[in-house]
């Protein structure tokens, strides 16, 4: 039997360095070598396992065989490899094994992330210091441009408004909805939650068509309005309005689309967190005479606060990266440009790699405060559990 799990009580505050057990075997170059090697073994095996199948080349073998292999490998195979590694670690001395095991658990994820995200991010950072064709070094010129030229400044301003407005609405409505849906009959809950979830299932192109039927505009002479807003406006006696060209409200019109799409995400996650709040706590509060409103703020809200932060962070990052809504609906015209849309435009349309990459780096750097908040919360939470 190996060591007991390292629970919070055993971890020295701010422990970044040491393992709680036996300093002798778990320190030193050899121990690190073993840790790193064991972290790498699994992902390499997994990758080789996948790519070694020459027959997985798309044309050669029927899809059913491929999917079968993938599902078997994905579930059973990967799991079995983790299990096998775990057994191997058990052969190591206890204290060394305990310090190696976390690396085996985390290793595959980190290797895959290094390949698919870290390497491209580093690559992007490098080309952000080069010119439009990524040939010559030009220092900080690209950064100077994005912080001085008005089109980029407008997009930064707009993105900041997006990351405030959309998460507030998407998480706020999602939370209120999840809380209320928890109190109605199971059938109504299921139906109403599905309705809020529905937009998530629509492909992006579909969503843009949905909102075309809301915002569409036709001046006099071009027939009936097919956009809901202008039709309602017509009933109220207004003349038709080109909604997506009304500065600055057109930004809000676009944000509404993302709220419509993202509320389903926050609602589903928050709903499952609310359902995880132990009944006993709620019942105790009610017995103490709390109203539903008080019970929510005193019992439910504190219990799901960390989930709210998670949902908030996720929605915020999604919003920060949003480009397709703007791209398709307005192309960034009429003061609706946002950072990510400018990035894609510079990189793919204008072929100005340097500025595109600098905008991408701006995206990475801007989330640092969010990471700090998350790490603080993560440590605080561990301190109390």
């Amino acid at each position: 039997m190996t060591t007991p799990p390292m629970l919070k009580e055993e971890i020295a505050p701010g422990a970044g360095g040491g393992s709680p057990v036996g300093p002798d075997a778990s320190k030193g170059v050899l121990a690190w070598l073993i840790r790193i090697t064991s972290a790498l073994i699994l992902p390499i095996v997994i990758a080789v396992f996948f790519f070694a199948f020459g027959f997985l080349k798309r044309d050669d073998v029927s899809k059913s065989v491929q999917v079968l292999v993938a599902v078997v490998v994905g579930i059973v195979g990967v799991w079995a490899m983790y299990w096998g590694m775990d057994r191997l670690i058990n052969l190591l001395p206890d204290s060394l094994g305990a310090s190696v095991r976390p690396f085996v658990f985390v290793g595959p994820a980190m290797v895959i992330l290094s390949f698919y995200l870290i390497y491209p991010a580093v690559n992007t950072t490098i080309i952000s210091f080069k010119d439009g064709r990524s040939q010559n070094w030009i220092g900080l010129d690209n950064y100077t441009r994005i912080f001085t030229e008005s089109q980029y400044l407008i997009s930064i301003r707009n993105s900041l408004i997006w990351v405030i407005v959309v998460p507030v609405l998407a998480v706020g409505i999602g939370l209120a909805f999840a809380t209320m849906a928890d109190k109605i009959s199971a059938r109504s809950e299921s139906v109403s939650k599905s309705v809020i979830f529905l937009p998530m299932a629509i492909s992006f192109v579909g969503a843009s068509v949905v909102w075309t039927f809301v915002y569409s505009f036709r001046p006099e002479g071009f027939g009936n309005q097919i956009g809901l807003l202008n039709a309602l406006g017509g009933v109220a006696g207004m003349s038709p309005v080109n909604w997506l060209a009304q500065k600055p409200w057109n930004n809000l019109m676009l944000m509404v689309i993302l709220v419509w799409l993202q509320t389903g995400f926050s609602m589903v996650i928050l709903s499952s967190a609310i359902k995880g709040v132990p009944d006993v706590l709620l019942e105790a509060a009610r017995i103490d005479g709390a109203t539903e409103w008080e019970a929510f703020w005193k019992v439910v809200f504190p219990s799901i606060l960390s989930t709210i932060v998670v949902v908030w962070t996720t929605v915020l990052i999604t919003v920060w990266k949003v480009f397709d809504i703007v791209w398709v609906m307005t192309g960034g015209r009429d003061g609706t440009q946002v950072v990510a849309q400018q990035m894609v435009q510079e990189f793919f349309t204008n072929r100005n790699n340097g500025v595109g990459a600098a905008l991408a780096v701006l995206l990475f750097v801007a989330v640092l405060p969010i990471l700090v908040i998350n790490i603080r919360r993560f440590r605080a939470e561990e301190a109390v559990r």
Binding site: F204, A231, V268, D279, M343
Partner: protein, 290 residues
């Protein structure tokens, strides 16, 4: 079962009507744009352009106002094949990151190791890396090692792009499980692997299901990754690529997209309904009572 016994404990308020009303109102607001799309998907292309979808309520039973033509055109050719391709892409692309992320999330939540906080911060930070910036460097490596156009290339790419969110969501959930469970289990002599597999994974089913849904939706509706790493030749096209082809240069967008959007939504909605029963009260509650 835990679920079923717990469900009746749902407290009914003395007057649930305000809640029903609010829920009904919000649901309606959310549904209206989609209802518009649904109605238009059954109208003649010309009617879609001629008048708003709400005008059908004036002549609901006029059979000439309705058509299945948009659906038959969408389902006409190549769609079955595209559907199969999408399934072949999406199922492994959901299963692989969940397995890998679950192990990592457990380690981040319940194991101590040097650099843990920093690695976790890195993982969360990677959520912000724009997919568009990652495609070219990865494609270049794929081409060098000759795996472009294979399913594993797409599966692992989706796994990589989905991992940060998966690790983040799972770690948060696993970390919020009461430490008493793990303490007791380890006193009982369970090691990390047993605790993970026998306790944490079963207790994390709601969050695993949530992530599975989102990753499935993401992969199902993805266009770019499949297009770049798998290709657009008719025999490997996924549904989104097929639909983009159908939409043509704008001309077909308003006519066929409503029907196409609903056809491609069927499976994601089925998955949502299928997994919804995992989001029920009491999944974790039962284990911490007492």
């Amino acid at each position: 079962m835990t679920a079923r016994t717990a469900a009746p404990s749902k407290v009914r308020q003395s007057s649930p009507w305000p809640i029903y009303l609010t829920i009904g109102l919000v649901s309606t607001m959310w549904a209206i744009p989609a209802i518009g799309l649904l109605i238009n998907s059954f109208r003649e292309p010309r009617s879609i352009r001629a008048s708003g979808w709400w005008t059908v309520f004036g002549h609901l039973f006029d059979s000439t106002a309705w058509t299945l033509g948009n659906y038959t055109r969408v389902l006409d050719e190549g769609f079955g094949n595209a559907f199969a391709n999408t399934l072949a892409v999406s199922i492994p692309s959901v299963v692989i990151p969940i397995t890998i992320a679950a192990f990592a999330a457990y380690a981040f939540a319940w194991m101590d190791f040097p650099g843990r906080s920093w690695l976790f911060a890195l993982v969360v930070g990677l959520m912000v890396v724009p997919l568009q910036m990652a495609l070219i460097p990865i494609l270049r490596i794929y081409t060098t090692i000759g795996v472009t156009g294979t399913y594993p290339a797409v599966w692992l790419a989706h796994a990589g792009f989905g991992l940060p969110l998966a690790v983040y969501l799972l770690r948060n959930y696993m970390g919020s499980l009461p430490s008493s469970i793990i303490e007791s289990a380890s006193i009982d002599g369970a090691d990390h692997f047993a605790i993970f597999w026998r306790l944490i994974v079963p207790l994390s089913v709601p969050v695993l299901a949530s992530f599975a849904i989102f990753q499935f939706l993401w992969v199902w509706n993805d266009y770019l990754v499949a297009l770049v790493f798998l290709g657009i030749e008719p025999n490997v096209r996924v549904v989104t690529v097929e639909l983009a082809d159908l939409a043509g240069r704008g001309e077909g967008a308003l006519n066929l997209m409503p029907a196409a959007a609903f056809v491609s939504m069927i499976l994601p909605l089925a998955v949502f309904f299928g997994l919804q029963r995992f989001f029920v009260r009491g999944m974790t509650a039962g284990s911490v009572k007492g």
